[in-house]
Amino acid sequence: MMARARRPRPPRVAERILEWMVGKDSRGRSIVGDAREEMAARWGHRPRLFAKLWYWAYVGRFALSYRGGGDPSGLRLAAGLRHAFRSLSRRPGLALVVVGTLAVGIGATTLAYAMVDGVLLRPLPYEEPGQLLNLSRVDPDWFPEPPTAGRAAGWFATPPATFFDWEKRSRSFMHLGAYASTSGALEEGDEPVRINGAVVTSGVFAALGVPAELGRHLMPEDDVLGAVPVVVLSHGLWMRGFGADPGTVGRTIRIEGTDYNVIGVMPADFAFPSESTEAWVHFGDELVLSDVRSAGFLNAVGRLSPGVGLGEAREDMRRVSVEMAAVHPEERDFEVLVFPLQEITVAGARQGLLILLGAALVVLLVGCVNVTNLFLSRSAERGREFAVHAALGAGSGRLAGLVLGESLLLATFGGLLGGLLALAALDPFLAALPMTVPRAGEIAIDVRVALVITVLTVGLGILVALLPALHTGRSELNTTLREGGLGAAGGRRSFRSHGTLVVTEVALAVLLLSAAGLFLASYRLSAERDPGFGTDDVYSLYVSIPRLRDAAPHEQSIFFGDMMRRLVSVPGVERVALASQMPLMPSYSMPPAGVETSEGVQETILHSSVVSPEYFEAMDIPVLAGRSFDRGDEDGSTPVAVVSEEMARRYWPGDDPVGQRVRIGTDDDGVWHEVVGMVGNVRYGFARSEAVEYYRAAAQYPRSEFNVVLKAGPGAAGIPGATVAAMRELLPTVPVSVASLRDRVEDDRNYRWARLASILLSGLGGVAVLLAVLGIYGVLSYAVVRRTREIGIRVSLGGTAREILRSVLGAFLVLSLVGTVLGLGLAVVTGPVMRSALVGAVPTGPWILIEVTGVVLATVLVAGLVPAVRALRVDPLVAFKTE
């Protein structure tokens, strides 16, 4: 991180504050400009962070000197501030600890809240986003009841023909558009590149209501049969691929073998359906004409007509489904899920982000408890001073005000420092986010977030002071004076408050560590679990040959056969194989199938990959029964299939899978295949379970696109470069990107999220424990100091070390245990929510809780022992002298 920007931008919030102080006329704007110029001159070539910090300091100093420039109210304010500073500067340690503690909590909360705000709360960047809905056709058998937005989000399964029927029959929508993500080779410049895009109907743009930045977006005439192929570019692609040339609009570009007319460029913040979408192409004749209804690949987005609600739209789509089922029996088994687009967009991240925010708040709470502790001790310490004040006629409200004012001031500093910490952490943090959280580009610390932090800071200032202020307000003066005189433990009330705080801190630490432990264990379990295939010396690349799409099957076979022969001659490559879909590579389909079992044919949809005979060996997938494919499985011979162990277990438990039959395709047009072998299970991604899957022979299902698997022998390091060179020679217009499966594992979105979430939660858990330990240490040390005289008396009366330890630690141990039990209870209660937010394996058993209990109790004990040992060293003579 720490990018070197030539022209640093001031932090937005700070600049707003400056603007607010100087006004927005030309005088004010020139002052703001001066500040910018000065920042650019000083910090233009240093890391942006420094510039931001400098600017904040600038605004702070400006506030003091500009307002204080001679007018009386400014003077009063400055004097007031100076007074508070002076009072606190007598206890710099206290001020430092309080500000630091609050800053950590507020910083973490700010960051977490900025994420929640940017991803979950902020309305989608479209016109009236509340009116946008997402529609997916689903098979209810595959959905939980009630269905969730999270499942519907990834469920691209609506056929084009079905969508066009929706368009005609539905009455609730002003605009309705269909979309699906895709990717293709852009042949532009020296080197072809693979770009991510979407096929869309014009209704998508109409519904979202975002105008093109340049040219136009799709219009209804682009959706019809025979329309000229058109493409709309993203701002990013236009900048990167076309040098931001306005003349790009109107040009013809070649994507995946088809010529498209560029009709427009969308603005930079338009990111639909995802942030990686770089181009939008129209449906084209093939999709417009498609009459398949058994399976699809689209989702739809609709804008509600004015006055129509979500419930009515759902009802409307139910009616549409019934009508359609009457005409097309294939539609019978499906229903339409309708969810707000916002929910669909962020469904995957919602729970995780909320848990992070919760964790940050817990850290903040532990911090507040600590600070309250400190204030409580301070007010107890100042008890006699207050008592004297009161005796001289100060009301208890005024005394409470003293504590309150001080804590507000400290909270303000904590808030400012916390805000700065969050600002400083934002950039490195965002750098870790892409491909992890949707809408990551919209996360920012701006006025909205600043406002929340301000409210939080003021609230904290009051909260933190509340307990001590009440304590001060209510304390009976006589008692205080007497207690002070006796040098006892600060009164019963104070002890009770301290006790509450110890219990709370331990409980919160246990809760947070349990959550962190759960995420960490889940991440570890998922990462360590056997994916079922080799990762370290296996590479893959994706090859699509547009001109072969409509070629004769044997031409496709010959082409890929030649390519494999060529690749196997690359130094270091030991084996080359083909697969239509394979773990960690995008895009896979689950076609309908029928499985013959002892209870008849079961209709289902299953993973299915078309592979060459070398695939299992190249991927280190063991053949467990029967055989793999071989040269005899060719076009015209008996259709054969190889099944995964999981599939065999599910459909033919206890039976030999070899010789069973699987029908590929629907009841009407399917072809029966004979199972000739069974292989080990694989997982298609970090968060996925073992695939129920069957393989088909590449020779029997030739295609124009394949994933190519390269198994490395000695000299593996050079494989990516040499492969790219060989491919470039063979296929100059096909983009090639070779990566090891190990790298692809680490690019997995779920993997990245699981890792990030466990790192963040562990960090927050660690901070919470640290704060709790500091707090507990503080309370005990303070208690020992307060009881120095009492302990001195015990020692002089012959008290043993054991007795003294027990008197110091006894109550504390009980409190810690109570806190632990409470924390474990909270962890158990919140467990189901936490577990449902996990993307990978779900750890079971009590081990996490047991470990967490051990860690917290051990740490807390150490924190308690130090002051306890100090109590043992109390010298009775010194003890008496101190009073």
Binding site: S30, G33, D34, S65, Y66, G68, G69
Partner: protein, 110 residues
């Protein structure tokens, strides 16, 4: 006279603007004060002082378009008004008057 005499900072700011000739921008004034008078003024006080001088009719400014590093914000070119020059001259005369006969004393003190 009825009007308040200039403070030291006001005095220095006017002189700095004059010394800079035609092109006195706020940041230049700041640098000039620092370099020539060894006087570090905080930004806030500088702008406040300039506003006071403006209110007294001693300082004036006109707006110019800003450069990119100013984020498009305008900048002000300051100049001392005629009244300002008169005021400076008066102030100098007052001071010179008061200095009469004191110079030698200070020198022997050194």
């Amino acid at each position: 006279m009825g009007k308040k005499p200039m403070g030291e900072v006001e005095h220095l700011v006017l002189l700095a603007v004059l010394r800079l000739g035609g092109g006195a921008f706020a940041l230049d004034v700041l640098r000039e004060l620092d370099r020539e008078a060894g006087h570090v003024v905080s930004r806030g006080s500088l702008y406040k002082t300039m506003e006071r001088l403006e209110a007294k009719g001693l300082l004036t400014w006109e707006v110019e378009d800003g450069s990119p590093e100013r984020g498009g914000h305008p900048r002000r070119r300051f100049s001392v008004t005629e009244a300002g020059i008169l005021e400076l001259a008066e102030a100098r005369a007052r001071l010179m008057n008061m200095w009469k006969g004191v110079g030698g004393l200070l020198e022997t003190d050194r």
